[in-house]
């Protein structure tokens, strides 16, 4: 089993005829993802990887049952593509675009809430359940990272995720489903909002979150654990602890979060609910073992 995507999930690809779109569609299918069609305006009637291409999501849903849409669309057209998918009734959307304008990302998240839809991204590699299916741009064939197993992974990073996941694998674990929520200040969906799915997934025995400084997403995770909404072992890795502070967001960042969001806050919050915070990627595996997470 897995969360968000499995081999029954019928996926369409918006921007399928582009370079990235066709390349990763091939790899998604190769992994076993049930991609049913693609969308590029003006290309209706063409085929990509044997899949039919449509001018619009509307045309695609008229011909296919579609559960999820994978976007390979440039950042400045992402809001439009998301709205198109939502408008066609699609409830799971993954966008890897890096560079979505902030105010548009706010509107995207709002629209997703309004439609009871889940948007993963932007600025992410997407979602993968190793050896099963993926929506995004993962080199799923790298066994050192994408090994099937029982650890749910959520991350805000790209390369760092590979680094950390490789350590999880090195420790003898594997991954149930990895969700890259994305590195943007306003991701479509937040860590805490996926916990429920991992909680209900029998295959997932523990969750690793790969966070960042800034924001309060780790604190939100701690709150969910405190509420009892998530009961499985959880290990977090936070990079950038010794890094000098970058440009500060005026006073506003601190005011929005009511002063929360520092590394110390995050560690305190997570430790306070029994979650462990790893200092180095290597320790993530060690801590999973410490928490008694089985390897099979």
């Amino acid at each position: 089993m897995s969360i968000f995507i499995d081999r029954d999930t019928k996926v369409c690809v918006q921007g399928i005829t582009g370079k990235e779109g066709s390349y990763w569609t091939k790899h998604m299918m190769e992994l076993g993802t049930n991609v049913v069609c693609g969308i590029t305006p003006g290309k209706e009637g063409q085929e990509v990887e044997g899949l039919p291409v449509y001018n619009s999501v509307k045309n695609a849903v008229a011909k296919h049952e579609i559960d999820a849409s994978m976007l390979f669309v440039p950042p400045k057209f992402t809001m439009d593509a998301v709205m198109e998918a939502l408008d066609a009734g699609i409830k799971k959307i993954v966008t890897i675009a890096d560079g979505i304008p902030l105010h548009e990302m706010v509107l995207i998240r709002q629209a997703a809430k309004e439609h009871n839809a889940i948007i993963v991204g932007g600025n992410t590699s997407g979602v993968i359940s190793p050896k099963l299916a993926m929506m995004g741009s993962f080199p799923h064939w790298i066994d050192r990272v994408y090994k099937k197993g029982n650890i749910g992974v959520m991350t805000r990073s790209g390369s760092l995720t590979n680094e950390v996941t490789a350590m999880i694998v090195k420790a003898g674990y594997g991954v149930s489903t990895l969700i890259g929520i994305g590195g943007d200040p306003v991701p479509g969906t937040r860590f805490a909002e996926f916990l429920n799915m991992y909680e209900n997934d029998p295959e997932t025995k523990a969750v690793v979150i790969i966070g960042e400084l800034g924001g309060i997403m780790e604190e939100e995770v701690a709150e969910e654990i405190a509420k009892g909404a998530f009961t499985k072992p959880l290990v977090a890795f936070l990079g950038g602890r010794t890094a000098p502070k970058g440009q500060k967001m005026g006073h506003a960042g601190a005011i929005v979060t009511g002063g929360k969001g520092s590394v110390e806050d995050k560690i305190r919050a997570l430790n306070g609910v029994g979650a462990l915070v790893a200092e180095r990627p290597r320790l993530v595996g060690t801590y999973l073992e410490q928490l008694g997470v089985p390897k099979e």
């Binding site: 304008p101 709002q110 440009q247």
Partner: protein
């Protein structure tokens, strides 16, 4: 992109918000004429992007011409390489208000934040007395509605005339927030003068970097950077910060780069520069190395673990860069990810010794830096 105070105030003025009388000078010679315009007492304000300027002595109240000359002279010689100073009239202040617009990533709204206890201690206030800061969510589809501006303005216990002006200012400042695709626009303090006028005492405007393609009015200039390397990196859109340590980082992925930064410190090393050539920049190995070589360092440490940023492409770029630039210092490579095997071949064929474990690569770089 963060604007300077004088730029932010220029934007405010265009939006209809009052700002103090002021003149921007670029050297001490321009002070005299500036003082004629602004009058005395005045405030000498260094135009730097860091916060806490008052506490750092970068903003100084000067009652006399002599003090103004002395302070301006001092500031133009400051280590921070201050290029511009704003000479501003000293306003008669009755009260200081905090006003800002930003986004709320959780609720997916804009956010108007206001406090009648504005000023330098606002962050402290946010922690100790958060109820003193009003937060009004804004549906970005509709924008700030006048009723919201009114509701907030009239809830602050200010004289009616001030509330009325404040309502107008909220709407004007929201337009700035929207038109400039701002991450943040902030006036702190917003002065209420003795004669009940509202004047922006300071101004912060941070434009969302992802929107810079359509925000063309303000561009970074070479004088905005401390070093040539920083300027060149910015032209390429390559995230880069220069430090004083030994190891030049040339890594891919922000999270991974900061993690490597952490690991170097954990292991007792020091960092010469942060350079992140992942994402859209993964084909820019040549330029990245060129920049790293401009920074004094003892070793360059390259760590990647890319997916879309393919290992083979980066490895080839690094090998090409080495051939072309003939670097004067050792290079440690730890390159993993998509097409890793090809990458390893490429590196080996160029005589590089690939490492696969980040901590090992970090330790190797520290050894080399320490000349062990």
């Amino acid at each position: 992109m963060k604007l300077y105070e004088y730029q932010a105030k220029q934007v405010f003025e265009e939006a209809g918000i009052k700002i103090p009388k002021s003149v921007l000078i670029e050297n001490v010679d321009e002070l005299e004429s500036a003082l004629e315009t602004v009058g005395l007492p005045c405030v000498v304000k260094s135009q730097v992007l860091s916060g806490g300027r008052g506490k750092a002595g970068l903003v100084v109240f000067t009652p006399t011409k002599e003090k103004a000359v002395a302070e301006t002279t001092r500031l133009f010689q400051h280590d921070l390489k201050i290029k511009k100073i704003l000479i501003e009239e000293a306003v008669n202040i009755k009260q200081e208000i905090y006003v800002a617009f930003t986004v709320d990533p959780v609720e997916a709204t804009g956010l108007l934040m206001v406090s009648v206890e504005g000023g330098v201690d606002i962050e402290q206030l946010a922690v100790t007395q958060p109820e003193k800061i009003i937060k009004e969510p804004i549906d970005l589809r509709y924008g700030l509605m006048p009723f919201q501006a009114s509701q907030v303005a009239y809830s602050l216990g200010l004289p009616e005339d001030v509330s009325k002006q404040l309502k107008k200012l909220f709407l004007q400042l929201y337009n700035v927030f929207k038109e400039y695709d701002a991450e943040l626009v902030e006036i702190n303090p917003l002065f209420v003068t003795e004669d009940m006028a509202l004047i922006a005492g300071d101004g912060k405007l941070m434009i969302d970097d992802n929107s810079m393609y359509r925000q063309t009015k303000y561009q970074k200039q070479e004088t905005d950077y401390r070093t040539e390397a920083e300027y060149e990196a910015s032209l390429e859109g390559i995230p880069f910060i220069q430090f004083d340590g030994d190891i030049g980082l040339m890594c891919a992925g922000a999270g991974l780069t900061t993690t490597v930064y952490d690991l170097i410190h954990y292991e007792g090393g020091t960092v010469a520069n942060y350079l992140e050539f992942g994402g859209p920049n993964y084909k820019k190995a040549l330029k990245s190395m060129e920049i790293c070589l401009k920074v004094p360092s003892k070793v360059i440490l390259i760590v990647t673990f890319g997916t879309i940023a393919r290992a083979d492409v980066m490895a080839q770029g690094i090998v090409d860069a080495i051939k072309q630039l003939n670097p004067d210092r050792p290079i440690v490579t730890c390159i993993r990810g998509t097409n890793e095997k090809e990458a390893v071949e490429t590196l080996k064929s160029a005589g590089l010794e690939p490492i696969f474990d980040t901590e090992e690569a970090v330790r190797k770089a520290i050894q080399l830096a320490k000349g062990v």
